[in-house]
Symmetry: C2
Subunit: 596 residues, 2 copies
């Protein structure tokens, strides 16, 4: 059975030593987050996820969710009890708005906890995760009455939330959606239609479920410009907040999926269900994108979290499993064979994952800090910079982290040989669970298009210029110190690849948009590697300083080792991504569609 140990020391390294979040103590929420509180959140979060949620992960996969004749959905054994413990301990409201009962702590600390939550039990984590997205949308565009009515029980976790976008014939292209919302005399709407792939759409964990649903009001344009967002509660809510009658929304079926069996993925039937417009008519997509952007960072975190837990288990197995002898001479004289961790190719897989995990953790927490700063930084320029940077890197984190999460989970499974392919060891579940993250909240290809089509171009390329400036400065500074000069040199080369590819893209895509489409995924990979190189350089600088000061030597010395692995093994890949950008769209587009 797999195990999990939350990487608290590494989280603290990023928060305290790299991001130095103490410097933001003057900002709301950050002041409350004393080092003591932060440590107790991380330690308690570790204990809760390791002891309560992780033991339910494999059984959740086996049991899955079930739906009865009355369309009621039951989550796997233990989930309901664990969810009650989760909300009682207040885990869902860490960064919730205090006005609605939240603890008002920075996003950066709840993100740290979310990584643990997902590693321990990804299917479980999606129930509160989707609630956070729904809270974000209502917070952003809901009326004061809606906020007052819905947010307190959602922040408390007594009610959960969902996102209802997809229909059978439309996912990415929401302009095609058919769900209708007919105005009723009382100002509410009657929603009719079928939504699919609705995560946490129906279940037994919470007293109520607040569905956020995209639908078209008759007379609105038949395009993305005619879509509105509605609140459709499972149980209608009385003005005093108590539950009213059951609404006409039911779970029509549970999807049979490759993984995340512990999460109920529902076909949702709206049959004249009562809904309430949130935000402006026909502006629903914009509101949904508020949810979506937060959700995309959360999905990126899933890539990291599964990679982390899978790697931990592979490393444990590689230390235990005796098979063959080390190439450089016997290592385990007393035993019948050496542990397979002596084999360089096993280490190559583990080090590749480790270099990703630690870099991705730093980048994810840095990203979460930008989300905080975009709201809280005192200077408007600082807020804008933070918003630009996180906007630019959201599709990168979503797509690259989830591709790598799947890749590393696959490699972790590989370390188990045949044992990785059978269910008992739990490794194949990590792969199956990780797979969905490349798809939902916009496929990774859609992320790449968002990057090259929107994020790069926005405000005349302001966000990328800022990013390039920051990396350039970091490279120039690190070049001056012998201990970081080699890494800075490598990052400088990667940066040059990124600048070259960007220049090519700017020149080429203007005249032919297909150039941007063909370049999108290699370009995203290139930018992801530079962004990871940037955080790795920051981490190396810190580690070298601590080592020079004679600090906690083992931890920082290992950080240096992993940094060098990243710079020598992973980062040189930028050259091939640049080449794939600059080769242009012709090779990709030449074949006639009917000849595929």
């Amino acid at each position: 059975m797999p195990s999990y140990k939350a990487p608290v020391r590494d989280t603290r390294f990023v928060l305290e030593e790299v991001l130095d979040i103490g410097q933001y103590a003057a900002l709301p929420g950050f002041g409350e987050l004393t080092p003591e509180l932060m440590n107790s959140i991380l330690e308690e979060g570790a204990r809760f996820t390791e002891e309560v949620l992780q033991p339910l992960n494999q059984t959740g996969d086996r049991s899955g969710c079930t739906r009865d004749a009355n369309h009621a959905v039951t989550t796997p054994p233990g989930f309901k009890r664990a969810y009650h413990q989760f909300i009682e301990a207040g885990w869902g409201g860490l960064s919730g708005d205090p006005a609605y009962g939240g603890q008002g702590l920075p996003h950066v600390i709840s993100t740290a906890f979310e990584e643990y939550l997902i590693s321990a039990n990804m299917a479980f984590s999606m129930y509160p995760g989707l609630t956070l997205g729904a809270i974000a949308a209502i917070t952003a565009v809901g009326s004061d009455e809606q906020k007052a009515l819905y947010l307190p029980p959602m922040v408390a976790g007594r009610w959960t939330g969902t996102m209802n976008l997809t229909e059978a014939h439309c996912g990415t292209d929401l302009g095609l959606l058919r769900t209708r919302a007919e105005p009723a005399p009382d100002g509410s709407y009657r929603l009719t239609g079928t939504k699919i792939f609705i995560s946490a759409g129906e279940h037994d964990l919470s007293e109520n479920i607040i569905h956020l649903v995209l639908a078209r009001i008759p007379g609105s344009p038949e395009s993305v410009k005619g879509i509105s967002l509605f609140i459709v509660p499972k149980f209608l809510v009385n003005p005093d907040g108590s539950l009213g009658p059951r609404n006409a929304v039911t779970c029509g079926a549970l999807e049979e999926k490759m993984g995340i069996h512990g999460n109920a993925t529902c076909v949702m039937n709206y049959e004249g269900a009562t809904g309430f417009l949130v935000g402006e008519r026909d502006k629903g997509l914009r509101a949904m994108f508020i949810m979506m952007n937060a959700a995309r960072l959360g999905v990126g975190l899933q890539g990291l979290a599964i990679s982390e837990v899978a790697t931990q288990n592979a490393a444990n197995y590689a230390r235990d499993r005796l098979q063959g002898r080390a190439l450089g001479g016997v290592k385990n004289l007393q035993g019948p064979a050496d542990p397979i961790i002596v084999h360089p190719d096993v280490r190559r897989m583990l080090m590749t994952a480790r270099a990703f995990n630690e870099g991705a953790r730093a980048l994810a927490l840095w990203g979460a800090l930008q989300v905080d700063l975009a709201h809280l930084a005192p200077a408007p320029e600082a807020r804008q910079d933070a918003e630009d940077l996180i906007g630019l890197l959201t599709p990168v984190i979503k797509a690259y982290f989830t591709d790598q999460g799947y890749f590393n989970a696959t490699n972790a499974q590989q370390c188990f040989g045949g044992h990785g392919y059978v269910r008992d060891w739990g490794m194949e579940q990590f792969v199956r669970d990780a797979r969905i993250a490349m798809v939902y909240e916009g496929t990774n290809g859609v992320q790449a298009l968002d990057l090259v089509g929107r994020k790069l171009a926005a405000h005349g390329g302001r966000a990328l210029r800022l990013f390039l400036r920051e990396v350039t400065t970091a490279v120039e500074n690190a070049r001056k110190t012998p201990a970081t000069a080699e890494a800075a040199e490598t990052l400088g080369c990667a940066l040059a690849d990124l600048q070259g590819a960007t220049g090519w893209l700017m020149r080429s895509a203007l005249t032919r948009p297909e150039q941007a489409g063909a370049a999108s995924t290699p370009y995203l990979y290139l930018l992801a590697l530079v962004a990871l190189g940037h955080v790795w350089l920051r981490m190396l600088v810190v580690a070298e300083r601590k080592l020079a000061e004679g600090g906690e030597s083992a931890f920082h010395a290992n950080k240096r080792i992993t940094a060098h692995y990243f710079f020598r093994h992973a980062l040189p890949e930028t050259a091939v991504h640049r080449a794939r950008v600059e080769v242009g769209a012709d090779p990709v587009m030449a074949l006639a569609a009917e000849d595929f």
Copy 2:
């Protein structure tokens, strides 16, 4: 539900136009393989696999195999009937020895058929596939009596075969195995032990199952030098070939696996089972490797075959699924949206897979031809060259094809968005099925070690020198023609990367074996890309010649398009693999085992 169309035209292109197998008509078996017979085998094979086997693939995954209280195993609905059709049509004996009832056709044609078989139903294909491995071992090291007794019903498919190597505590490192074989007074042995992960270990398809089992005879060395190979029939066989009593070998359990549910993966309990030594005592591993090498090429073919069928389905879906509009302007004016095949990033995934599939098909069939020539070529030097080349490329084909098969199946699933993650569409099954091929018959890491540790070094590097010579000649020739000069130039760069990495390896690994281990997988990828580049250059040369001659223009023009995609997108990756070889073992080995 997924579909499958055997790529007969492409197989014929490789066999007739690229490999020109007509030139070998003087060799045994090749003479019988007239163009008419070849076409009828391919067309009939296509029909049989498309119409009989493919419809059982998804249901086989759903139903899986079941084991009853008497340890009897039932295959999924339809498998038994289909297997009988399979053997009645003689598909199992295509390249079987005519002395034992086989059709004596070249390996190259049965390999072409096997690709279709696996694409249509990988789990099914393993039952006859393992039989071929067992036949190969008995043919190579069995006594005349053993051959006469066991081979005819196995070649006919009435009996199937298995390979029994793995035990719970040992897979790669067979020296650790514990299964014992006690000599009995009648010259037979009594085998006692438990084997795991035994594909097709017990089932209802055949009258008898011939297990080939590795075990240790008391007094033999406690290492790989003390392992012998035994025939252990499920039903003992009377001297006249009729079935005798049930042997003491039973299926103790079916493994619950990630995929290939239609194949019975068994725990096999040997409880004093009667076995017969095959080949020499203590030389069992050598005999098993005869099986294994053939099996590794077969597993490589699984990578190609799943990639092919998954890509076909993705391309079909991408042509049908309407979602979004083309970047370069609306393509489907009448429809509500354009088919997603207009999107360059979707094409990128499809073209990457296509370039692999067509290249891998050519390389697999070229490899199968080398297997034939290693036995049949009149000149001893030609036999040796063929054996050297296929020995060198066996681990490359096994590991690279299966890694890419999984990668392409994952990308094909990605083209379906969320629909790829649910079971109905069948795409996630391709991913789960493809996953095992990276593991069994030696993990891909073990293949890489076999390449750098054994195959490169054998006979002073003779095989690689021959390979490099052949590629060099091809590059030099193709450089002279404008239509192939660009591709030749790119292959020349890749070849230089391979030569550089090889030189580094030769110099470095002698003094420190870990250098070879750390370099093994990147080196294997590098060699694989050059080998694919080599066959792609041959195909491009043929296509250009045919186009110049005004032949079948659409097919050959598309071949040119795909060739250029391969040379521009896939091949430049060699540089990063070379860099990863030459960075050496230090970054991989630096972290202490306990710090992972």
